[in-house]
Symmetry: C2
Subunit: 351 residues, 2 copies
């Protein structure tokens, strides 16, 4: 293995993760280096499998040895998609996932991208990288579609934490604000708490307390409570909730999208005329339903850690995995972890 130590931006990839592993991750890596000349990728996984996959893409075993943008880090283990996090933590220390995280921890890579087992990735990343000073819990954040075409909305936590105390929700608000500002160039992002009503009297005590904490930090543009029906209405740039609620909301979106897709297929095949029409409208609808499964084409970021970790969907295709690599690159360039740290420290002095 040759680790490229130039000024290039280096990202470690868990090549073996995801439903299809190297079949997806290797083409995405090649796409990434072709499109991003300053990017260096460390491919973590079984070296013979990786070399085979690379040679199928026209990169020989010989050329990889001195490749300016690619290097292989051999690992002997793989974290499977249904493995329990605790087991993966204990028994998979030489896995592609673990080693990709170790490389970030050791400063040999500036970020890590994996399409592997979410629970295991979260536990390992938390253990290996640790949280930023003052951050109680890291969170899983992703962007969802918006009614307005050029916009989208960040939502966290999407399932990393079952329940979150008020101060944790407050920190999620701060972290989401930094990500939206840095990655999406949104000035003064609008932060909202997901609740069962918009009125201040609604919801649990810890949500009301989180609202109070967010409104007291003057560096945060906290706009109040938002309901599930307004997630996509472009009322907020960042929506904060605990991981249980976020996971249910995200998966419910997926369920509704699937339901509408299923029912609209029936509409498109109801008679001969509709079948003919469907040829004309189907591509547009297909694109629409694709955007309704946001976590399948966007990477989700684990934020609040002392390092950048982007999670691609388990059944991501090469384009989606490439998008996750770009997301990681952007977070490195914008120094997201450092800025979260500063913002949280500012919040502490403001309160």
């Amino acid at each position: 293995m040759s680790l490229n130590s130039s000024n290039n931006l280096t990202i470690a990839l868990d090549v073996m993760g995801g439903d299809k592993g190297p079949l997806i991750t290797i083409p995405a890596a090649i796409l990434a280096i072709n499109k991003q000349p300053n990017l260096h990728l460390i491919l973590c996984g079984d070296s013979s499998v990786i070399q085979q996959a690379l040679s199928e893409q026209g990169i020989s075993a010989e050329s990889i040895k001195n490749h300016s943008q690619l290097s292989i880090f051999h690992t002997s283990q793989v974290v499977t998609m249904d493995e329990k996090p605790a087991y993966a933590m204990r028994a998979k220390k030489d896995s592609s996932m673990r080693k990709a995280l170790d490389l970030v921890h050791e400063g040999k890579a500036q970020a890590c991208v994996s399409a592997g087992n979410t629970g295991a990735l979260f536990s390992m990343a938390h253990f290996v990288l640790k949280t930023l000073p003052g951050v109680e819990r890291p969170a899983l954040i992703s962007s969802l579609p918006s009614r307005d075409n050029d916009k989208h909305v960040f939502m966290l936590d999407l399932g990393a934490n079952v329940f979150c105390e008020s101060h944790v929700l407050y920190q999620f608000g701060v972290m989401g604000s930094v990500l939206a500002e840095q990655v999406d160039n949104i000035e003064n992002p609008r932060i909202a708490l997901l609740n069962m009503g918009e009125e201040a009297i609604k919801g649990s005590d810890h949500i009301k307390l989180a609202a109070l904490e967010l409104s007291e930090n003057k560096a945060i543009n906290y706009i109040g409570f938002i309901e599930g029906s307004d997630i996509f209405s472009n009322k907020a740039d960042v929506i904060v909730c605990d991981g249980f609620v976020g996971n249910v909301a995200l998966k419910t979106c997926e369920g509704v999208a699937r339901l509408v897709y299923h029912k609209s297929k029936a509409i498109f095949t109801q008679n001969v005329v509709a079948r003919i029409l469907s040829f004309l409208l189907k591509p547009s609808f297909k694109k629409l339903f694709k955007t309704m499964n946001p976590d399948q084409y966007n990477g989700a970021s684990l934020i609040g850690l002392r390092g950048i970790v982007v999670k691609s969907h388990g059944n991501a295709n090469s384009t989606a995995f490439y998008a996750a690599i770009l997301e990681a690159k952007k977070e490195v360039e914008r120094q997201v972890p450092e800025k979260i740290k500063v913002m949280l420290e500012q919040g502490l002095t403001h309160q």
Copy 2:
């Protein structure tokens, strides 16, 4: 006022509730008595407003006096849609909502239907009717669409309770099972708990405990955890969650449906051909999006009380309010509260 005390089934209507009050509720009431000859309705609200609305529908003030299916119960107050429940409880004792509930409590009506303020209705119903013996909390339950055309799925709680302990979730499972069996004729309904994963290790301790309680009651067909993405997959007949999660999931459905509707409008108007084609497919899509807002056309029931209360959506039209009246009638005929009581007692002896 003449209260009909024959063998007829009597339902009290909160005529003043909902965004449009008598404009919607009176035509629905007339539709109901025309279609249901054994139904007697007590119209609770301002008698002059009701008489005016009735006369506009061709029922004179004279004929109402001896009407076999309609009677008016004059009330001087209205609970407004944005009123706080505590205020409505204290200050609106002569409201149409409160009196409709009182009539159920006094045995003068067997059920009550309202399209009014949900929070106020829930608090008043809980206070006036009280919970069934052993029931800790009443819940709001409604049916959602399913992938399979002739099916749907019941979900509770949809927002009556912010947080629910394990035993409350267990009771919701029992109550939902009874409703699905009695109202929808589903034999041995499949009960699932909404969770952030299907694996037994997922979720909070109180959800795992509720799973244990449900699996120990042999009269309940508990099938395990279900994710948001499978709400509409016809995997379960009843989905149980706390009111916060249920409310977010339901409202997220509404949000996704609105988003898809908005985006598909853009598809249908993207060019001249699509605009012409849209005439042919639009009615089918319109129907589809309507079913995606379940609480707008179905009534939601407050179950676990010593009486039947059906909540119609605030902006329900006459057809939707009529559907809520039918739902109430069905619950009376099937003796839902009595059967919940028996089922909970059986559960206690089984455990």
